[in-house]
Structures are given as C-alpha cells and as structure tokens.
C-alpha cells in the first residue's frame, strides 16, 4: 500500500514493550525511569492514534485501513487467521478513548501510586492492560479479539488483586476472573458457531457472507448472538454476571477508573457493535440485549442508592450506565451506544479519579459517612467532580446529556417494547441523578464528619488529568451535535435510528432532563446539610426495610453463594475431592504402590546379603540347567557333544 507510514503495530506493541521493560527490570530501575517507560508507552500509542485521527479528519486517508502483509497466525485449508490490525471508524473512536483516557489515567497514577512498593509492577500491569485492550480493539478477526478479550481479563485480575496481601483483594480478583470466565465460555462457543456456519473468523468476510444471504435470519444466528451476548454480559458486568464489578473496587482507584469504568468493561458493547450485522439479523437476540440492558440499568441504579463506600456507588453506577449502552445496542442504535461509551469513559473515568483524589486527601477513607465538607478543602477535585456529576446526571449541554438522550430517543422509536424500555431508562436517569447527588452532598457539602482527617489537595500530576477529563465531560457531547458523530460511524454501524419529528425529540429530552431534575430534588431534600438523613445518628443507624435490601444488594451475592458457590464447593470437596481424588485416583495409586512394595518385600528376602545363599542359588540354578539339558534333550551343540561324550565313551577308548 502506498501512502504515509501509519505505525499501526506500534499502538499495541509500545505498551507491550513498556510491560516487558518494567516487568522484568522495573524493580532494579530508578523510579524516574520506571515512570518514563510507563508513561511514554501509552503516550506513544496515543500519538500514533491521534495522528491517524487527524489524517482521517483531514481526509488524507480513507477508512477502513487494513494492514497489508500481516503476519499469519493460522492457515488451515480455507481458514486463514492473521494478526493484522484493522482500523475503521468504530475502532478509531475506541482507540482514541482507550489510549487517550488510558494515558491520562497513567499520568494520574504517577501521583496516586507514588508511595506504593509495587510501583514498577503496577505500571507494567497497566501497560499490559493497554497492550491487550488495543489488541482487542484493533483485531480484524474474532480470534485475535478473543486474545485481547482474555488478556484484558488477565490484566484486570492482576490489578484487582494488586494488593494481594489483602485477602479481600485477592479473592475479589479471583471472583472477577471466574465470573467473567462464565461469559468467556459463551464467547468461545459463539466463535465456534461462527466458524462452523461461516467458515471464517474475519469480521468483514462474515459481514460479506451475511450480506449475500439477505433472507438468512434467526435460527442459528440467534444462538450465535446469544452466545456472544453471554460473553459481553460477563465482561461488561450485566445481569446476571455483574457481581464481580463491585468487588473489583478492591483494586487501586486508577485501575477502577481505567479498567472497570472507562475501557475494559465497555469491551462487551464494542463487541456487540462490531457484530451488529449479526445481531441485526436476530430480532430476538436484540430484544434480549435491550431488555437485559434496561433491567441492569435499573437494578444497578437502585443498588447504588444505598451504598456508603464511594467507590461502590460508582461501581453500581458503572453497571447501570453499561446497561444503557446495552439498551442502545439492543434497539440497534449502535452509534448512540458507542457515543455513550465514549462520554461515559470521560465522566466515569473522571468520577473515579476524583474519588481517588478524595480518598487520597482523606488518607485512605472510602466511607462517605465519614466525609463531608470537602468542598473548601479540595476545591479543584470538587469542581471537576461536580462537572462529572452533572454530566452523568444528564444536565443539558454536558456530555452525558447528549449520549443518554440519543439512546433513550432511539429506544422510544422501537414500538411498545421500546417505549417500556424508554420508561425504564427515564426512571434510571432519575435514580442516577439521585445517587450521584447523594454522593456529591455526602462527600463535599455540609460540615466535615471526620475530625481526624486533615484533607489536602492532590498534587498537580493528579489534578491535571482531572481537569482535562472535566473539560471532556463538559464539552465531549458536542461532537455529536447535528449528528456528525453518528454519520462518522455510519459506514460501520449503519445509519442511525432517526429520532423522529423535531418536536418529539425535544419532548423526550425534556422528560429525561425532568427525571434527572426530580432525582436531584430528592437528593437535595434528603441529603442537604441539616436534613434528617445526614444527622450522625441517622448515618450510623442500620438500614431498615427496603433500604436494607438495597444496602445488601438484594442479597444477590448471598443467593449466588447458596445456589452456585456452595454446591460447587461441596461437589469439589466431597465428590471430586474425596471420591474421585481420594478414593479412585488415590486408591489406584495406592494399589500400584502397594503391589510394588509387596513385591519388593518378597524379593528382598532373596537379597539376604548372605554370600552362601547366593552361591546356593547359583549352584541350584546350574544344576537345574544341567538337568534340563540332560532330560529335555535340547538340541544344542553343547548338549549334543556333552551327550555324546557321556554316552559314547565306550567306543572312544580306542
């Protein structure tokens, strides 16, 4: 291909190099060098992507870009899988988010993790994550995407359990890995089904084959879609596999921002958008995506209402917002879902980083009941967080407003089911505003409820990313103004769902904003300084009634424990552990060992060490051989001559 050199492989390989350098030599390098390596790798990736985006912007290069002469991985008969990078509009947007927000969070981490012993290890894991995430995004076929998919799961596991000395962190990492593995199983089955039905794993070829058979809908395509959806459900923390994400908050806060808010958890949305041509052929699968997304959005938002850990509120908020994205995918508004993915990366990344700044200021305190009054103490964190809260609540003009509105408007167009889902979405929007302003009031407003703490503003290396993300959270929504964003994505995800007549669009907007306003007002009356709910005794009281159910997260963890984990443990311990391992395998090993030992004990008697018994056996053997030769008459030259010498000696005398 003639044209400018694009350095596509560098996007993934630079973070890999950073991982290797910091992972192997990090502990022996000076801290400044570790920082330099850890930051330059994602910065390099971002610059390559940004240069690419500028070239696309100035129309000096046409999308999609398919890397020529990519190294082959598998070549079997008609199946061909290579490592080539493919950049189209969808992956370009995703790459900008991943490397851009990723780089900002790397910078923030320099401040946040400054005093941690595992500084180099942290940056090597973070770079490893970026390597796998960019691999996932750039993949031109499902199999390479699956490598990235599993790889980000590995990085997520490593980073959730980063403080592995803490038992809760270690088990949270394991939980995340095991729960997402259930989804990965579905993804893998989906890949096999694709291979069986299309004979290829390349996205473009699958799309071409589908386009050649316009009548092919439902059936096996629905099954394939549902399998892929299971994968997306696990990775993107949707019902019923969302349980790992709140626990994932055990990891360092920048990790929560990068992996468990901005990028990795959105991989499921990206995957569904990538496979939209497949989902478009299965209305049933799309309905499942939409209903699952809306249900998750509402369910998680209600749980977020009653959490007291600042990071857990944000975790449930993330699950809820991911539900919105699935809802968008489910009503075939893929570009709106990707748009919300992008704005969510900005404001949720910012919320987590802001929460990290708050935790940093309070020396590790995460309980909102022990915060309050931080507005004056850490003003920059306060103002950036406020921007993010307004954005996620859908305040007009802020980024979340545009993207959430686009999804809700698209849902409203989809018949009766769509209208029901729209209603759920609007309700969730109200709840979102409620729990976000609850967090905002409890954390920043009123008087400090923590007399031990001496809050201090974070260093600029942490505030810089906050300010940049705040600007993106405020202004990021305007890229879609006039539908430009959707038109940009249209070559990949198809034309956007028309939002109907102009007046209807404005009415829907008004309803969503109104819901947010009601949520805010409820938060205002309940949590403003001086109200009964923020009184110390009210905060200390055990929650009762439905709030208690919410605070215990609907007891889902307990139910899963009783239904899945305990039976599995019982089966593992008793059936597999005792019967299979202990009785069958152990018994077989014991039997074989016993036979050998017994045989040895018998044969040992021969090896008495008594020279004369050896000699006796030798003599007895010789006698036995002699008798055998004589009596059996073995036709052997020796025996023949011996026989003749013994029988013919009479004539021999001459």
């Amino acid at each position: 291909m003639n044209g400018p050199v694009l350095f596509l492989p560098l996007i993934a390989l630079l973070p890999l190099a950073g991982f290797l350098v910091n992972g192997i030599f990090g502990s022996r390098l000076p801290k400044a060098l570790v920082t330099a390596v850890g930051l330059l790798a994602p910065l390099g990736s971002f610059l390559v992507v940004a240069r690419l985006a500028l070239m696309v912007w100035s129309s000096s290069i046409a999308l999609p870009i398919i890397e020529p002469n990519a190294p082959t991985w598998i070549s079997l008969g008609t199946l061909h899988v290579d490592f080539g990078s493919v950049v189209d509009q969808l992956s370009l947007v995703m790459l900008l988010v991943v490397t851009g927000v990723g780089f900002l969070i790397h910078v923030y981490s320099v401040g946040y993790m400054h005093d941690d012993d595992g500084y180099a290890r942290y940056f090597s894991y973070l770079n490893l994550f970026l390597f796998f995430m960019t691999t996932l995004v750039l993949a031109g076929n499902v199999l390479v995407m699956f490598i990235g998919w599993e790889g980000v799961g590995l990085a997520s596991y490593l980073l959730i359990g980063f403080w592995f000395q803490k038992p809760t962190a270690a088990s949270a990492g394991m939980k995340a890995f095991v729960v997402t593995r259930i989804g990965d199983f579905g993804f893998l089955i989906g890949i096999f089904l694709l291979l069986a039905n299309f004979g290829t794993l390349t996205f473009t070829e699958i799309a071409t084959k589908l386009a050649a058979n316009p009548a092919w809908t439902g059936g096996i395509l629905t099954v394939t879609c549902l399998c892929l959806l299971l994968g997306a459900t696990g990775k993107s923390a949707q019902l019923p596999l969302y349980v790992w994400l709140p626990d994932a908050m055990e990891g360092p806060t920048p990790v929560s921002a990068l992996i468990h808010a901005a990028t990795m958890v959105t991989a499921g949305v990206y995957m569904i958008a990538r496979f939209h041509f497949l989902f478009d052929r299965s209305p049933f699968a799309l309905s499942v995506v939409a209903i699952g997304g809306a249900a998750t959005a509402l369910f998680a938002a209600t749980m977020g209402l009653a959490q007291n850990d600042i990071k857990r509120v944000l975790a449930y908020s993330t699950i809820s917002q991911l539900g919105y994205m699935f809802l968008g995918c489910g009503v075939a508004a893929y570009s709106a879902a990707i748009f919300h993915l992008m704005t969510h990366a900005f404001f949720k990344g910012l919320l987590f980083l802001g929460a990290g700044s708050v935790i940093h200021a309070l020396g590790g305190e995460q309980d909102m009941r022990k915060m309050g009054g931080l507005r004056q103490k850490i003003p920059i964190t306060f103002w950036t967080m406020t921007a993010a809260v307004l954005a996620i609540s859908g305040f007009p003009g802020f980024s979340g407003f545009f993207s959430k509105d686009a999804i809700l408007a698209a849902a409203f167009q989809q018949g009766t089911l769509g209208k029901a889902l729209w209603a759920v979405g609007v309700l969730t929007a109200g709840l979102t505003a409620l729990y976000m302003f609850r967090l905002w009031y409890l954390t920043f407003i009123g008087d400090s409820r923590n007399e031990h703490a001496h809050p201090h503003e974070s260093p600029w290396v942490m505030l810089g990313p906050l300010v940049l993300l705040a600007l993106l959270s405020i202004g990021g929504g305007w890229v879609a103004f006039g539908g430009r964003f959707y038109d940009f994505l249209a070559p990949v995800t198809g034309p956007r769902v028309e939002s109907g007549a102009g007046s209807l669009e404005y009415i829907l907007m008004a309803v969503a904003v109104g819901a947010g306003l009601i949520g805010y007002l409820i938060a205002l009356f309940n949590y403003k300084p001086g109200s009964a709910r923020v009184a110390p005794e009210a905060l200390a009281a055990e929650p009762a009634g439905f709030t208690k159910v919410l605070a215990h997260k609907y007891y889902v963890d307990e139910i899963y424990n009783a239904v899945f984990v305990r039976p599995l443990l019982v089966i593992s311990r008793y059936i597999l552990g005792w019967v299979v391992d202990g009785a069958i395998l152990g018994g077989a090993a014991w039997l074989l060992g016993g036979i050998a030992t017994l045989g040895g004990a018998i044969l040992q008697r021969w090896q008495s060490g008594n020279l004369r018994s050896y000699a006796a056996w030798l003599a007895a053997g010789a006698v036995a051989l002699l008798l055998f030769v004589l009596l059996a008459g073995v036709p052997h030259p020796w025996s023949f001559s011996l026989f003749r010498s013994l029988t013919n000696f009479q004539q021999a005398g001459h």
Binding site: Q604, N610, A615, F649, G653
Partner: protein
C-alpha cells in the same frame, strides 16, 4: 602311559572331576571361613581343569590343554587379588567369617 589309557577308562577321570567339583561346591556353601571358601573355589577350578585335560586327551585336541593354561593363569591372578582382599578384610573387620561380612546387605 598306555597302561593308564587302557586300564583307566575316561569315565573314572570324569567322575573324579565331578567329585572334586562337588566337594568344592559343598565346601563353598558350608564353610564359614573366607580362606576355606577361597580354597573351595580353587578346588572347583582344578576339577574343571581335570575334565579339560581328560577330554583333550580323549579327542586328541590341544585346545583343551590350552584352556587349562588359561584357567591356571586366571586362578593365579585371582589368588593374588583374592588374598589381598582377604587380608584387607581381616584388617578392617578382624574376622573372616563370611556371615559377618555383609555390609552390602540392604
């Protein structure tokens, strides 16, 4: 010479040889003293030598007599090495009883 050849049949030589060999085997098995055991081995070797010579004479073949020289040579070497070992064993353990030289026992 003829007298011997004619009057003493081959069988007698062989029987003598077998008797000597059996004595050697029995001595080897029942004697406790290492030197006696060693002498029993010599006895067995010489019993075999006798049968070699007998057959060599019977078949007019010189091969048997050559073998006898080989056996005598090996026996001489064995005596030299064997006696040296016996002396070493006696110095180390102050006994020559075969039953008690059982360090290699498991």
């Amino acid at each position: 010479m003829n007298f011997l050849q004619q009057d003493v049949p081959l069988t007698w030589y062989l029987l003598l040889s077998a008797a000597l060999f059996s004595l050697g085997v029995v001595g080897f098995l029942i004697k406790r003293n290492l030197i006696t055991v060693f002498m029993s081995i010599e006895l067995m070797l010489n019993a075999v030598n006798l049968s070699f010579v007998t057959f060599a004479h019977q078949w007019h073949a010189v091969k048997g007599q050559i073998f006898v020289f080989f056996v005598m040579m090996v026996a001489a070497a064995e005596a030299a090495v064997g006696l040296a070992i016996i002396i070493a064993v006696f110095r180390a353990r102050s006994t020559l009883a075969v039953d008690r030289i059982d360090l290699m026992k498991l």
